[in-house]
Subunit: 458 residues, 2 copies
């Protein structure tokens, strides 16, 4: 039993479901067998216990003779609620003081403050959602771009669980056949053709591997693509950063609430977050302090998936560029050379002979910036997987890998003509790992671990 | 016409009504003649236009074929809503991305993003609230202590408006009688006895003055009582600050979201916020840098309403204390001398002969801290006015003062036996100022000024 969560459902929980800051309204959610009864004891207005599900009632929350707030109480009668339990949502004024007063009164009347994720845990325990759907709720709340939103929504809608369940069904059928054979072991019958078994396991492995591979894209969706602007001092890196951010704002509106620190700007291309970092200029230096700066720059570059290498097109020869780019070959990143300052050129650029074709721009005059955006779009495309379902959750990734490993063992066992017992064991292992994803097998620790990361009130 | 607000009611407005941070859920409010129709166009589920008022419906917000979110839509049919208009409240997942998507879709379908306070402005324009009640809504949302909450709630419930309306009625009757006299001026009748007039004006002035005086307490309620801890270096000021804050936390639970900066701690006694500041130690110094520090300390002390003067009871003689306290007499503040370090005393304190009776404590051993709290409670009591209605709004304060001034003019006019025209004019002025408070007379600028200070979504 995790210390964070109670998986018994006998008490009534309450929490502020909206964000804690000052807003026009706040919503307090109460769920459990006594939810409506408890609120009714504090509510001056209609008798809430006599109201139909999915109705809203204006009234006052009273602390004895004192009015705490005028509220709207929405009634949801079990099982027709998010948690599956009796639920009341109190829409009150958005004052922290009022919200705390109401929560205190609810606790006085017998409710308990909910732990993080406890409403969704109850939805899971009451079978309103499976585990991967429940996890998607947290991702949905945290979603901050079109792609994070899309994958979380898909997962919450059960697209991912469905796929897992189909795979699991196939495996269960298989295991049953093999186990049936074991019952008839004396008679040496073969219910499950080993060739068919091999084919089916291979088919499932293809599907699992697609899902496993999609995790790389899922990770990109969830965490964005780390991108740096590198180049010599005065190549125009900061101007480019600003030009890119301006360009991007024209393409997609910026999402309110995106975290920005001083060194990282997030912008969205085709629904994917690019986390863009400017770096200090790179120059050869024997000065030790400068060397440390350069070291840090290279450290940053080492973490990037995309390097926008900026050079001064008006002064850099093709040979110099080749040499400079050579240094970056050691990084496992996509390198996009960008020739800046074409406004200073008196004649057109000589076509570049190397395999690298730079993009030529003027960040000062905001010329051709869109070509960089186009190139970054290609990076998104390159990462995108052609699969409806994308894995974004490391727990699912691990479970899928474990399932795939067990299935590989099955293949080995078939080839080695191992006994049905061994085959069955490995298949059951794979089934176990797939069942883990949707929450058919869970431990309290696992649930605690998952739901304690939720926000309170969800 | 203020640039902030539209006082026509022909369009449909929408806004996020909950706080912008990440929460489990967010609520988007849509109000206006087309509110239900617009939401219905985006809503996959029941036909919202065919639903009864005060019902809740589960469904999906669609962007074409894409699901933006699973939501609960609460329907309020005009005039049974906060604004008096058709209203929908969409309870969606608490993701800024989702909320922005939904708002963009609503705008695409013909709604307009609401300006700050525009929902409450509409409630006012649709006569669901008078102006002082509308103003109380903002105060209620900002309320962070029992007293701010109580006065705002009282004002929102109309207690203040009622009182104003009763006064106004009396004045209107008066003015009518005097104006009736004017019609019969030739006949020299007296419908309104000047003695009765004087008595009535005096009675009203007493009431107005009570309200005007209550503003001082209203201000204390709204802005708290600035309190400093002063004293010589090493008197134990910081330890006392911490001891007080600990003591207070045991008495009243701290309100989440209270603003704290490094130099000011807010704590609540009997529902009133004390804003407590520590100061640098005061010592006589010829060092110029230290003098600046001391100057700043005295500046801070000058702004305080309460000075907790801390001295070392184990080393300070009565004469020294008298001298030290003498410096503080110039401040318009309540001075509470506090003798610290009684744990270092080998024998009981000699009763103090001065008119000032210090509180003796040990902040280190947390002894007798509650006596300071008791003394601060007395400060609250001293400020409290024995009047049901407390004015907290400077606009009301000004209007009441103007009304009182006009009524003083009436008294002067009576004594000077001025004409009925003059009397009537002054009475009408007083009526005008009282009508201003409840919003019977307004200008767009005034409304803009009031509602633009609201948060968006209210």
């Amino acid at each position: 039993m995790s210390k964070y969560l109670k998986t018994d459902l006998n008490d009534t929980i309450c929490a502020l479901a909206t964000s804690g800051g000052i807003g026009a309204i706040g919503v307090i959610r109460i769920s459990g067998i006594d939810a409506i009864k408890i609120v009714n004891e504090l509510f001056k207005g209609k008798n809430l216990e006599q109201q139909q599900t999915h109705t809203v009632h204006f009234g006052k929350i009273m602390d004895g003779a004192n009015i705490v707030d005028e509220v709207l109480a929405s009634i949801f009668v079990s099982p027709k609620s998010y948690t599956g339990e009796n639920t009341v949502e109190l829409s009150c004024h958005g004052s922290a003081y009022i919200q705390q007063q109401i929560l205190e009164l609810l606790v006085k009347k017998g409710a308990r403050l909910a732990k993080p994720g406890e409403f969704t845990l109850r939805a899971f325990l009451n079978k309103k959602l499976d585990l991967s759907q429940a996890e998607a709720v947290a991702d949905l709340i945290a979603s901050n771009s079109a792609e994070t939103h899309k994958t979380a929504m898909q997962q919450m809608r059960g697209g991912f669980s469905n796929q897992i369940n189909i795979l699991k069904e196939k495996l269960v059928n298989f295991a049953s056949l093999i186990e049936l054979e074991l019952d008839f072991a004396e008679e040496d019958v073969e219910f499950a053709s080993k060739d068919e078994l091999r084919k089916l396991v291979n088919d499932i492995l293809i599907l699992l591997n697609e899902l496993i591979i999609s995790f790389q894209y899922g990770n990109v969706i969830k965490n964005g693509i780390p991108t740096v602007i590198a180049g010599k001092p005065n190549a125009g890196k900061s101007t480019l950063l600003n030009a890119l951010l301006n360009e991007e704002r024209a393409i997609v509106s910026h999402i309110a609430g995106t975290t920005r620190d001083t060194i990282e700007e997030v912008f969205v291309i085709d629904g994917i977050n690019f986390r863009l970092t400017d770096t200090a200029g790179i120059r050869n230096s024997t000065d030790s302090i400068e060397s440390i700066g350069i070291e840090k720059t290279f450290e940053k570059i080492g973490k990037a998936s995309v390097i926008l290498y900026l050079f001064d097109a008006s002064t850099t020869t093709n040979e110099e560029l080749e040499n400079e780019l050579h240094e970056f070959k050691k990084f496992d990143a996509i390198i996009i050379p960008v020739g800046n300052k074409i406004d200073l050129l008196s004649q057109p650029i000589t076509p570049h002979t190397s395999h690298l074709t730079p993009i030529y721009i003027s960040s000062l005059q905001k010329k051709n910036i869109h070509s960089i955006i186009d190139e970054l779009k290609k990076v998104v495309e390159k990462n995108r997987v052609n699969h409806d379902v994308v894995i974004t959750n490391i727990r699912h990734f691990e479970a899928l890998k474990n399932a795939a490993e067990s299935l590989q063992q099955v293949l080995v066992a078939i080839d080695a003509k191992l006994s049905g017992e061994m085959l069955s064991l490995d298949i059951r292992k794979a089934i176990f790992h797939l069942a883990e994803i949707v929450g058919e097998v869970t431990t309290e620790d696992l649930l605690g671990n998952i739901f304690s990361k939720f926000c309170i009130g969800k």
